[in-house]
């Protein structure tokens, strides 16, 4: 249930962010993060970006 997916922010508009995970794109809410920009990586949970990912030395392997 607490599955998170790292994804890259492609666009931000009106509190929604278009994110990209290996080519799969979806609009998610960016309302819970104040300091994100295009190009940042965020952790997405249930359609909401819940955290900005700082350094990304792990691979992008994703728990299902």
């Amino acid at each position: 249930m607490c599955v998170g997916l790292p994804a890259k922010v492609v666009r931000i508009q009106d509190g929604m962010a278009l994110v990209d995970a290996s080519g799969a794109r979806r609009e998610v809410s960016a309302e819970l993060l104040s300091d994100i920009d295009t190009g940042d990586y965020v952790m997405v949970h249930a359609g909401v970006a819940i955290a900005k990912i700082t350094e990304d030395n792990e691979d992008e392997e994703v728990p299902e």
């Binding site: 997916l5 995970a21 290996s22 994703v62």
Partner: protein, 346 residues
Amino acid sequence: MTAEFPDDARVTLAHGAGGRQTAALIARVFARHFQNPDFTADDAAILPVGNFATGRTAFTTDGFIVSPWQFPGGNIGKLSICGTVNDLACMGAVPRYLSCAFQIEEGFPLRDLDAIAAAMAETAKAAGVRIVAGDTKVAGRGQVDGVFITTTGLGELLPDAEPSGSRAEAGDAIIVTGDVGRHGAAILVARRDFAIDAAITSDCAPLAATVRALFAAVPDKSAIHTIRDATRGGVGTVLHEIAAESHVGIELDAPAIPVAPEVRGVCGLLGLEPLYLACEGRLVLFAPQAIAPKLVETLRALPDSRQAAIIGHVTPDFSGRVVLRTEIGTKTLLPEPSGELLPRIC
């Protein structure tokens, strides 16, 4: 070819009533696209199967209810040919003849039906198979979702080919003919249920020529132990089936399994396992490790199997089960699929 019908022309119940409108529909859509010397106007096609070299025929049937009816990489018409052609090919047969039965929802656009028939004709031609008989029924609105198609096929067995799900042996290499899960992921995106975008094209393809090339590549045809097309349930389901039918264990090298990044992305968003997403143009092969490199080389030279790869091997251990060797060198079971994954995908 879609200029044949105006935008607003629809299939009506009269098209299925057996009268003049039915004859017109068959003539304008099906006969026009499917025309070949064996296509019958009579109640049944007469086929020269006595000429089959080995005297052996493969025979199968399959129903198709995909929604939406068209998707990147194909439509239900193409799918309905590929499914039956590939089932025949997996038995070591050259597909020769097909019949097709349509259940069409009242109000379905004629232009779309025409596009479906065109895709069937084109795919049948590519697969070297003739559509020789058919049937058309029209159901009331809501009784069918658009169009359902059932195809039935006859194939001529290749000499000495005897692939079977019960012939996998310890020591066999396991080959998949391309990246997995494309069709299921493409349908999932096309359905728009989860508002995900991804540039994923279905792998839907007829693989009769691929199978012929494989048998041509090996002197001992019986050395190709098992061929199965990974449709509903994906490669993972096929592997579980074969482990059970052949009473062997299967060990997969997880990092060696080809998966397109976009498919991985969709699976990541929705918590799905690519191994359980449907393919419609992927074969799983079992053959001795000694000839596996030759088979992979043959596959990689063909258009629909350029990403063929050896993904594991058969072991005498843990009979009936499928084990994954993970990225950190541990072993874990590949769980059996359970419950509904996705509705109406093939």
